[in-house]
Amino acid sequence: RAGSIASKIPGPSQEHYGPESNQCSLHHFQVSFHQLGWDHWIIAPNLYTPNYCKGACSRVLRYGLNSPNHAIIQNLVNELVDQSVPQPACVPYKYVPISILLIEANGSILYKEYEDMIAQSCTCR
């Protein structure tokens, strides 16, 4: 049964399995700090693009999703052993930082680099 699933795994040269628009992928999304309620103390940047990951993690995880081995196993478990074990989810894989300039309550001005603030790519895990 694993072999029947494995035979459907597309290689890097093959086309993606399923309609691409539904598959796990990175979505561009921009917010202002005003929308987050933080504009009274954040000076820069004006806009922030955290992005998000959304889409189906199909039973056959396509090449290039950077899914760990565990996700592949969990898919097999869900498919072949126990459906109460959930399928992997579409979540960020890599992040990049942003620099923020803000005013502290005592009037000090702070420049700070915050790690992992923007999703750069997605994975199923």
Binding site: A2, G3, A6, S7, I9, G11, P12, L36, G37, W38, H40, W41, I43, A44, P45, L47, Y48, T49, Y63, N66, S67, P68, N69, I72, L76, V96, P97, I98, S99, I100, L101, L102, I103, E104, A105, N106, G107, S108, I109, L110, Y111, K112, E113, Y114, E115, D116, I118
Partner: protein
């Protein structure tokens, strides 16, 4: 809590490190945005523009040398005239307790070395304040360099990293760095006393503290080279064998 924003989502994840930092640093939403104008704001805006692009991405070629820079403004002190042509303004910089996760890498005092007040030209410099010390001067080991500031020719930056680290940095409570901002008129002394009335709020100096984060998250390990994904590149039959 003082400084806690009223935005509800922040309260839902109190254990998130980012949320705790933001709760500590953000002024309360009901407060007005603290007004910081003048040279300190201009300096930090220029620092930000040199270090990050318009979208906030840190520039790859940035030379800031730190992941966090705090500009500390002095507490307001009134200048007191001395005999002769010198005036001293006492500047107290309140320092937050040392956070273990941040290492101080540099401390710079930026001050006006040239001041023009009501037509008078003043030369100024900064000295440390040490209680009951006969000679209040930075020793040669405590300062490493002075150089013109990027703000303007009238401003100078002086590196006092060693001075701050030796005297103040390992404290667990709020500490105060006290400096003397000393000015003297270049020609004559008439009228100097009148000049300093109301100059307590004059934008004369500020402190820059550069930190590196010592508690960065460990870089995630790469996927095992012999993982299933690599095998899929070669032959699905190999995958079948592994599944068995």
């Amino acid at each position: 809590m003082v400084g806690q924003p009223s935005t509800a989502p922040l309260a839902e994840a109190p254990t998130s490190p980012l949320i705790w930092e933001l709760l500590e640093e953000a002024p309360g939403k009901q407060q007005k945005k603290p007004q910081v104008l003048g040279h300190p704001m201009r300096y930090m805006l220029e620092l930000y523009q040199r270090s990050a692009d318009a979208r906030g991405h840190p520039r790859k070629n940035r030379t800031i040398g730190a992941t966090m820079v705090r500009l500390v403004r002095p507490l307001v002190n009134v200048a007191r005239p001395l005999r002769g042509p010198q005036h001293i303004q006492t500047l107290d910089f309140r320092l937050r307790p040392n956070q273990v996760t941040y290492q101080l890498v540099r401390a710079i005092v930026v001050y006006r070395h040239q001041l023009h007040l009501a037509g008078f030209h003043l030369s100024c410099h900064v000295e440390p304040w040490v209680q009951k010390s006969p000679t209040n001067h930075f020793s040669s080991s405590e300062i490493s360099s002075s150089k013109p500031s990027l703000l303007s020719k009238a401003w100078t930056e002086m590196d006092i990293t060693q001075h701050v680290q030796q005297r103040l940095w390992n404290h667990k409570r709020h500490g105060v760095l006290r400096l003397h901002f000393m000015c003297q008129q270049q020609k004559g002394s008439e009228g100097l006393e009148l000049l300093w009335h109301g100059t307590s709020s004059l934008d004369t100096a500020f402190l820059l503290l550069y930190f590196n984060d010592t508690h960065k998250s460990v870089q995630k390990a790469k996927l095992l080279p012999g993982g299933l994904e690599e095998l899929m590149e070669r032959d699905s039959s190999l995958l079948l064998q592994r599944a068995r």
